[in-house]
Amino acid sequence: MLTLRDIPVGKSGTVLKIHGSGALRRRIMDMGITKGTSIYVRKVAPLGDPVEVTVRGYELSIRKQEAEILEMKEN
């Protein structure tokens, strides 16, 4: 399964499915990451985690571990 974690910096992908449950899943969706949303991976923090992504025209930081619940398709 390809997740957001696997999308390299500078590339973008589309959300196929959101796994997980509860607060984390809801939070991710509340921030605008829903099925079919395109996510662009902008950069990785200097210490290797978290990553910065662009979604719906704004910048979002997400930990790699949290990014794993997002099943993706590379664009």
């Binding site: 607060a23 923090a45 978290p50 662009t54 719906r56 949290e66």
Partner: protein, 716 residues
């Protein structure tokens, strides 16, 4: 009749700026009942009967965060007359997500699209008329920063409040979802205020237990509704909560496609992007970060800050006011006791506390710039990796750094951490890093124990850091702090130039809270301490601490300090006075040891004699006073920031325990190694060390896996 306007919007949408602009200086800051979420209220400028309630900045009305629960409870239960929803025009899609939820509550609503100056600059066009028709609310374009159209927005709110809600809400949901929600509306309509019908219906569909509580649905209705929801879930192959979120965003996407024309393509670089490319660059980020932190620290803690604090303490309170008051009181013929109370007790005590104010103002000035410009979230972004390991988040970095200067602003800086668990833990731990005042104890004890050594001070920082790491790991395995780490899904807002007005408001708000505390609780405690120090069974004593009540209190509590090797009244008294102000401990020790002169060497020699020449006793005293609870000002601040008494006591208790155990283990095990002394206390110390190791390595009893296994075993 008074009108209540509730201000709602996403974080970073300019809500605070608008609130400040509308209310001016009539703000009242408190907490929402029962929780430590800040509650701000003010009156509309020029309208004494219009109250503006500033809700916390939120992205949604989900049941998962305290800010969101507080906001929705307020809107649904208290029913303000009108909601003013602020939207960041440069980020309209995500901002409208909250709007679709606010509309469902059923209250009259006005939308203010903020940052219009930036929208125009970007070349984007928003069709307000169309958007207003579709959403069924009045919409106005404003710029809160420049004060454009803000009063007009408030005026619109007053009109909307007068009219009440008339328009049909927009059709956000489609197909079987709308069908199911309509069904739910039918089944619950006699249970709720017709105004809130849609809101409750959607919440029931989402299976939001917290919101459904007041409905008291019976089993049959529940079952009936649940069948509808399950059908829907089956059809959409998703769970109800996600179906709702998905449809909301689908609706918004279609809506913005009709009403908003963006000029710039998605991946074009803005100025903010260009700044960010350098500031959080893989190679440059850490050096730039270190430089900024050093600059903040250098400016507000060491150079200008300590100069101002020294000046306030030594010159303003120490000389001018003290001398003035003494002279004035003497002229009035006041007795020695009265002069001593007013000058030494109150002016001296409160003065020491107020001495922190200039330093704090400078520090908050710097921090506000970082916060308002958008750099603070980048700090969290950069440092998260390290802090997550100890169960904290990147946002805990600033309080820890500030803590090396002074614990009071450190605890107050933890306000920016939204997650309650993270914030509570940060408040508990940020004062373990030795502050400036504790360094005076370190300096004095270095002279007593290891004259000329350069390593004691750095060693104390490392021990402090070790305690933070240990506590993070150990506390994370307790019932309260365990559980999934708070999601770190955080918006990185665009950089913008902070305004002087915004920063000054910030600084004033924080300083005011502190000054009020100094004026009340600390004032009272100063009088008590003064009395205990200057009175004894024989009445008023000028400077004879040996015969004071404090001495007898020291005698009473000395047994408590026995396991630390400090089982004599002077040790207890010095530790108690260190709680008033950490730097006070050295002065008290000097006084207790009856040093022959004021020179540092003489004081050190006298202290050494008092400690019986034992380095272990000295070490124990040092460790206890550096790593136990901070001074009473910081303790009072922690009580305030923790929000509840219970958490105030937990914080103080934990800190006392750590300081005590550390000193005890050092002393007892040291005695065992150097002198071969073994007794009950030694055994206890060894047990404590084993326990500490156990707390680090034990598997988390509250981890989800173990909980699940336990539950399955119970079932079997």
């Amino acid at each position: 009749m008074a009108v209540k306007i509730a201000l709602a919007g996403n974080p970073n949408c300019g809500k605070t700026t608008l609130f400040n602009d509308l209310t001016g200086s009539t703000q009242y800051v408190g907490n929402w009942p029962g929780v430590t979420v800040e509650k701000k209220e003010g009156r509309l400028k020029g309208h004494h009967d219009v109250i503006i309630e500033d809700l916390p900045g939120i992205y949604s009305l989900s049941p998962y965060s305290m800010e969101e629960v507080v906001s929705r409870n307020y809107l649904v239960n208290e029913k303000p007359d009108v909601i003013l929803n602020i939207i960041d025009g440069t980020n309209i899609e995500r901002n409208l997500y909250l709007t679709t939820q606010l509309i469902e509550i059923g209250l009259p609503m006005v939308i203010a699209i903020n940052m219009m100056d930036l929208v125009v600059k970007n070349g984007d066009v928003i069709n307000i008329t169309k958007l207003s028709q579709e959403l069924g609310c009045r919409i106005i374009e404003i710029s809160a920063l420049k004060g454009q159209s803000t009063m007009e927005a408030a005026q619109l709110c007053l009109e909307a409040a007068k009219e009440g809600r008339q328009v049909e809400p927009p059709h956000v949901f489609t197909g079987s979802v709308e069908h199911a929600i309509a069904h739910i509306e039918e089944s619950i309509q006699d249970k709720v205020d017709p105004l809130n019908l849609r809101w409750y219906a959607v919440k029931v569909f989402e299976r939001d237990e917290k919101a459904m509580g007041p409905l008291h649905l019976d089993r049959v209705t529940k079952k009936h509704i649940d069948d509808h929801i399950k059908d829907c879930e089956k059809e959409m192959d998703d769970e109800a909560e996600s179906i709702i979120t998905n449809q909301r965003y689908d609706y918004i996407q279609a809506l913005t496609a009709r009403c908003v024309k963006k000029k710039r393509s998605m991946h074009e670089m803005t100025t903010s992007d260009k700044i960010d490319r350098i500031v959080t660059n893989r190679i440059l980020a850490l050096p730039i970060f270190a430089l900024i932190m050093w600059a903040v620290y250098f400016f507000s803690v060491t150079t200008l800050g300590s100069y101002l604090t020294d000046w306030t303490n030594d010159v303003l309170f120490g000389t001018w006011i003290t001398n003035g008051a003494t002279a004035g009181l003497t002229a009035l013929g006041a007795s020695d006791a009265v002069i001593s109370l007013l000058v030494d007790g109150i002016i001296g005590g409160v003065g020491t506390v107020l001495g922190f104010v200039p330093q704090m103002i400078l520090l908050f000035f710097c921090l506000s710039i970082l916060e308002d410009s958008g750099y603070m979230v980048r700090v969290a972004f950069i440092m998260d990796r390290i802090f997550r390991r100890f169960g904290l988040s990147g946002k805990s970095f600033i309080p820890m750094l500030v803590g090396t200067g002074c614990g009071v602003p450190a605890i107050m800086a933890s306000r920016t951490i939204e997650n309650e668990k993270d914030r509570r833990m940060t408040i508990m731990l940020s004062t373990f890093l030795p502050c400036g005042a504790k360094m005076e104890i370190v300096a004095m004890m270095t002279m007593v124990l290891f004259p000329g050594s350069m390593f004691v001070a750095p060693a104390m920082y490392f021990v402090g850091l070790g305690i933070v790491v240990f506590s993070g790991i150990a506390l994370k395995k307790t019932k309260y702090f365990s559980g999934d780490p708070a999601p770190f899904v955080m918006e990185l807002p665009a950089y913008h130039l902070p305004t002087i007005k915004g920063i000054l408001t910030h600084v004033w708000e924080r300083a005011k809270a502190f000054i009020i505390k100094a004026g009340t609780i600390i004032f009272a405690m100063c009088i008590v301490m003064w009395f205990l120090m200057h009175f004894g069974p024989s009445g008023f004593l000028a400077d004879d601490i040996d015969r004071s009540f404090l001495r007898y209190i020291g005698e009473v509590f000395a047994w408590l300090f026995k396991p630390l090797g400090l089982g004599f009244w002077q040790g207890a008294v010095a530790s108690i006075s260190a709680e008033v102000a950490k730097e006070q401990a050295t002065a008290t020790l000097g006084m207790l040891a009856h040093a022959t002169s004021d020179s540092n060497a003489a004081v050190a020699a006298a202290i050494n004699t008092m400690f019986g020449g034992s380095k272990l006793v000295g070490m124990s005293f040092l460790l206890f006073n550096i790593f136990d609870a901070p001074c009473m000002v910081a303790i009072a601040t922690a009580f305030r920031e923790q929000g509840t008494r219970k958490w105030g006591w937990i914080t103080m208790g934990y800190q006392m325990m750590i300081g005590y155990c550390l000193a005890m283990c050092t002393y007892q095990i040291g005695m065992l190694v150097s002198e071969g002394v073994f007794n009950g206390a030694t055994a206890a110390a060894i047990v404590l060390v084993i326990l500490a190791i156990y707390f680090i390595f034990r598997p988390n009893p509250y981890s989800e896996k173990r909980m699940a296994r336990k539950a399955s075993m119970a079932r079997a």
